[in-house]
């Protein structure tokens, strides 16, 4: 039995690598260019690269938000947001002007903050993520793993929520991933993170197979 994973294609980045990765893992993948396709899928992936405002505008213009709310929040289908796809889950983003996000995860998307001297942006390269206990995404990955990051913004939340969070450090700590029931988000690119990334995507696919 193989679950169908819908990878949303709505003009916010090249989805080919994500599709390749899930296919490499033996998953059935559908490139969803219209919201109606989410209804047939067992799990949803939202990859994204670019600016928060443009990302939300694309989701709105394409009619994705009602479908996402129905299939992910309503039907509880496993959901994975990658890079901008994770950031869009936040309450709001501050890239340029203030833009409301999907609001599924409490927090604000801001430019990476530094505790000391500013480091070069974007944050690009392999950096380590400390793996939280009880995580579904990071199963069998040990206590720490390196993933590939390319970004200048991240979700910041003032209060600790009861979801499962992992952090990375680039001159200061920022949210690397979040898991709350069926909703997951990763700031890094698992489809570019070699074996650790493929393991994580495999763990997500297993969520889809189970549900």
């Amino acid at each position: 039995m193989s679950a169908t994973i819908a990878v949303i294609s709505c003009g916010i980045g090249n989805i080919r690598s994500v599709v390749n990765a899930f296919e490499y893992l033996g998953c059935k993948v559908v490139v969803a260019e219209a919201p109606a396709l989410l209804h047939e899928a067992d799990a949803v992936v939202l990859p994204g690269v670019g600016a928060f405002k443009a990302g939300m505008a694309n989701l709105q213009a394409g009619g994705w938000i009602p479908a996402l709310e129905q299939e992910v929040l309503g039907s509880k289908k496993p959901f994975l947001g990658i890079c901008l796809g994770m950031q869009l889950l936040a309450t709001e983003g501050f890239e340029g002007s203030r833009t409301p996000g999907l609001g599924w995860i409490e927090g604000q998307v801001r430019e990476l903050r530094f505790d000391g001297d500013a480091l070069r942006l974007p944050h690009i390269g392999w950096n380590n993520v400390t793996i939280p206990p009880h995580s579904v995404l990071y199963q069998k990955l040990g206590g720490e793993a390196d993933f590939y990051f390319v970004h200048s913004y991240a979700i910041y939340a003032e209060s600790a929520a009861d979801d499962t969070r992992a952090y990375c450090d680039y001159g200061g700590r920022f949210l690397a991933s979040v898991e709350r029931e069926n909703v997951c988000g990763v700031q890094f690119h698992p489809e570019r993170s070699h074996k650790a990334g493929l393991k994580l995507l495999g763990n997500f696919a297993a969520m889809a197979n189970r549900s």
Binding site: N14, S17, Y24, R120, G125, R192, S193, G197
Partner: protein, 262 residues
């Protein structure tokens, strides 16, 4: 913390993998389609493919080059992209925004430009504006003149430009290059180590990452490149004549105190 990257450079000539020496001798190693799964298994941090074919003809007359769809480099890229789950850079005969786009839609994360950037420096800026500067690598081939100056060469090391390597690299950065891939024609295939003075001079003049390449013969050469200022270390030949080059290369770097992804 951010890890120092170890990057194999794979050379393609007329559809086949080759190793090179002093940019002149090109010995055939194998078929890129057959090897793609093996390269993806390596515990390295990125892969760079450079098409160093001379003409536009891809017909070597060999039977094994007709395996799979090797009729053009973009087909090879597409096949590589399907089995590459680390950042992938594609370079060689990229001369326009359209050429760049053709690479990105087939799975490249970054493209590398060399001769075309020297001939038309605006291409760097246009590429950065269109695709983001982190996607644009400027590759620079350097030969030292008799008086020790570092001169930029193009067309696979055949054409002297009269440009100074440091000045051209700085100009490439100001135009929007995200990274510099720095190759030494004198060191290529010699196994005598990086030209660390060259690496040092270029790295000091820039704020963008410099990837050192050309000359690695022992794993200890990587640390010398990093100490000279390289943000990442690359090698082309060592992968094809040493066992476990990925693991042993990274172990040597770790022993030298360099943060690496193990």
């Amino acid at each position: 913390m951010l890890k120092t990257r170890l990057i194999p450079v794979l050379l393609l000539r007329n559809g086949l993998l080759v190793r090179s020496e002093l940019f002149s001798i090109h010995q055939i190693i194998g078929n890129p389609i057959n090897e793609v799964k093996r390269f993806n298994e390596w515990n390295v941090d990125e892969l760079v493919y450079l098409d160093i074919s001379a003409g536009d003809s891809y017909d070597t007359g060999r039977e094994d080059h007709r395996v799979g769809s090797l009729s053009d480099p973009l087909s090879i890229l597409e096949a590589v992209g399907k089995n590459c789950f680390m950042p992938l850079t594609w370079g060689g005969r990229i001369r326009s925004i359209e050429d760049m786009r053709n690479c990105f839609v087939r799975g490249a994360d970054k493209i590398s430009i060399n001769s075309a950037a020297v001939a038309n420096p605006r291409l760097i800026a246009d590429g950065a504006d269109t695709f983001g500067r982190q996607a644009i690598v400027v590759s620079i081939d350097v030969k030292r003149s008799a008086d020790g100056r570092c001169e930029v060469y193009t067309e696979g090391g055949r054409t002297a430009t009269g440009y100074d390597a440091v000045e051209w690299a700085a100009r490439a950065e100001s135009l929007g290059a995200g990274e510099i891939l720095l190759q030494s024609i004198d060191r290529d295939g010699t196994g005598s180590g990086y030209d660390v003075e060259l690496v040092s001079e270029v790295s000091r003049a820039l704020t963008i990452p410099v990837i050192a390449c050309s000359g690695v013969g022992m794993y200890e050469h990587y640390a010398a490149g990093v100490r000279a200022g390289a943000a990442a270390v690359a090698a082309a030949n060592i992968w094809h004549f040493r066992e476990l080059s990925d693991r042993n290369g990274k172990r040597a770097m770790a022993r030298a105190g360099i943060p690496v992804r193990l």
